[in-house]
């Protein structure tokens, strides 16, 4: 029997990897994947503490988010010709 807190630790590690990825990766698609990783780390923790209903809702919302995100990325690629995050530097001040 694996104790509950080990899932918590694993969830925290996965979440940290996701956070790091969002902060340091330059490609928008990878950033989107890292956000998904963060959400799934949360799912892992929630499953380990027996909150399955919450997990279903998060999975659903994550799917919605990905569909909107990928549509946006497709538009970005068509307009800028790249998915590199550094193209988004026009708005500042």
């Amino acid at each position: 029997m694996i104790p509950t807190y080990s899932y918590l630790v694993l969830g925290c590690i996965l979440f940290s990897i996701g956070t790091l990825g969002v902060l340091i990766r330059r490609n928008v698609v990878i950033v989107l994947m890292c956000i998904e990783l963060m959400l799934n780390a949360v799912n892992l923790i929630l499953v380990s503490v027996c909150e399955p209903v919450f997990v279903f809702f998060i999975m659903m919302v994550a799917a919605v988010e990905v569909s909107v995100g990928l549509a946006l990325i497709a538009r970005v690629y068509r307009k800028f010709g790249t998915t590199d995050i550094s193209t988004f530097g026009q708005l500042k001040g």
Partner: protein, 380 residues
């Protein structure tokens, strides 16, 4: 409850009308729907649920949010032929209403997502590169903040006490408090002006209401919130000084006002009527500014483009000046009483330092607003 049902119905109708290409009817469907939803907030019918609570607090917030959206929608003349976004606007409004009425943490999460996901699309609905960039930034940072909020909730379920702190941080991101404000100016500047107005009024007020409700569950983060509030006030006012873009300028002004509202949120439910009044005064001020500027034939985002506006459109300028002075907090306009209430409550609780910083921030922001007003009087 009835308001949410009516709004959902209107949103779906609006989508169907768009699919059937009934473009000229859509303005009526959405407009009448918003009025009907406002009327429905007075209907006592409630479906029993443990996820939502419809007390006086949430009903008052709901009326305010629907009212602001309805006025904003009626002032918007430029959307003729661009009604595809009406449904998304309505769905986003439903999220805002849910955010004022949740009584279960799952509902808070869903409300934030229902509020945000349509906004990611709306922010990118303009034709320019800037609009797309704003949308992408909003999407990445918004999802990131939601993930942090969810992590907080999960830690809370796992019994880690720091969980609520992460939820507060996630909500502060939506409010646009410093240091989680970095997305605000970029997104406001890039989005089409009518959605900028929606974000700066409805979304900000909804986020404040959600934060107030979450904290009313008994999480004591008063020192942290007051700290965030104080830096938001002062940094928002200072950064507004050198802006040349109207929308970006309004974003920083909104950050400063969010700071004032956060003080009231931190002080707890005792000062709730004052928070309501502040939100109303802030919403009305922003509504006047955005409404009048958006009602011009060609919205130009540069502050310089308003040079000498008083001599070209005196009536519009007087309204604009009243709105700006109210936001600045000049008596006898509502903004003054709102800021006065913040100072009075803080002073009453013996937080002298906060009063000092708030006064300083008001002074700086008054200067910022007067600078804007003075532009209207410069002859070319």
């Amino acid at each position: 409850m009835t308001a949410i049902l009516v709004l959902s119905g209107v949103g779906i109708l609006s989508m169907i009308a768009d699919a059937l290409q009934l473009g000229r009817w859509m303005r009526w469907i959405t407009g009448i729907g918003l009025v009907a939803a406002f009327a429905a907030t007075f209907c006592p019918f409630v479906i029993p649920t443990t996820m939502l609570v419809f007390d006086e607090t949430s009903l008052t917030w709901t009326r305010m949010l629907i009212g602001f959206t309805a006025v904003l929608y009626s002032l918007d003349r430029h959307s003729d032929g661009h009604h595809h976004h009406d449904a998304l606007l309505i769905f986003s409004l439903i999220g805002a209403v849910l955010m004022t009425a949740f009584s279960h943490i799952l509902m808070l999460f869903l409300a934030i997502e229902i509020l945000s996901i349509p906004l990611y699309v709306l922010a990118g609905s303009g034709d320019s590169h800037h609009s797309l960039e704003a949308s992408m930034k909003y999407f990445i940072l918004g999802s990131f903040a939601t993930a942090i909020l969810l992590f907080g909730i999960a830690l809370g379920y796992a019994g880690v006490p720091a969980g609520a702190l992460l939820v507060v941080i996630g909500l502060c991101f939506k409010v646009g408090a410093v240091p989680f404000h970095l997305w605000v100016p970029d997104v406001y500047e890039g989005s089409p002006v009518r959605f900028t107005a929606f974000m700066s009024i409805v979304v900000k007020i909804a986020a404040i209401a959600g934060l107030a409700r979450f904290l009313s569950w008994g999480f004591g983060y008063r020192p942290l919130l007051i700290g965030l509030a104080v830096i938001s006030m002062i940094i928002g006012a200072l950064l507004a000084l050198h802006q040349t873009s109207i929308k970006r300028w309004m974003a920083y002004s909104g950050i400063s006002h969010a700071g004032f509202m956060l003080v009231l949120v931190a002080l707890g439910e005792v000062v709730f009527p004052s928070l309501l009044f502040y939100a109303l005064a802030y919403g009305m001020g922003s509504l006047v500014v955005f409404g009048l500027l958006g009602a011009q034939d060609q919205f130009d985002d540069r502050i310089d483009s308003l040079t000498g506006l008083f001599f070209r459109h005196p009536a519009l300028s007087v309204g604009l000046i009243l709105g700006l002075l109210s936001l600045a907090g000049i008596p006898p306009l509502p903004g003054f009483f709102a800021k006065f209430l913040v100072l009075a409550h803080t002073w009453h609780l013996g937080l002298g330092g906060v009063v000092g910083v708030a006064l300083l921030a008001s002074l700086v922001s008054t200067f910022v607003y007067l600078k804007f007003v003075s532009v209207l009087f410069i002859r070319k």
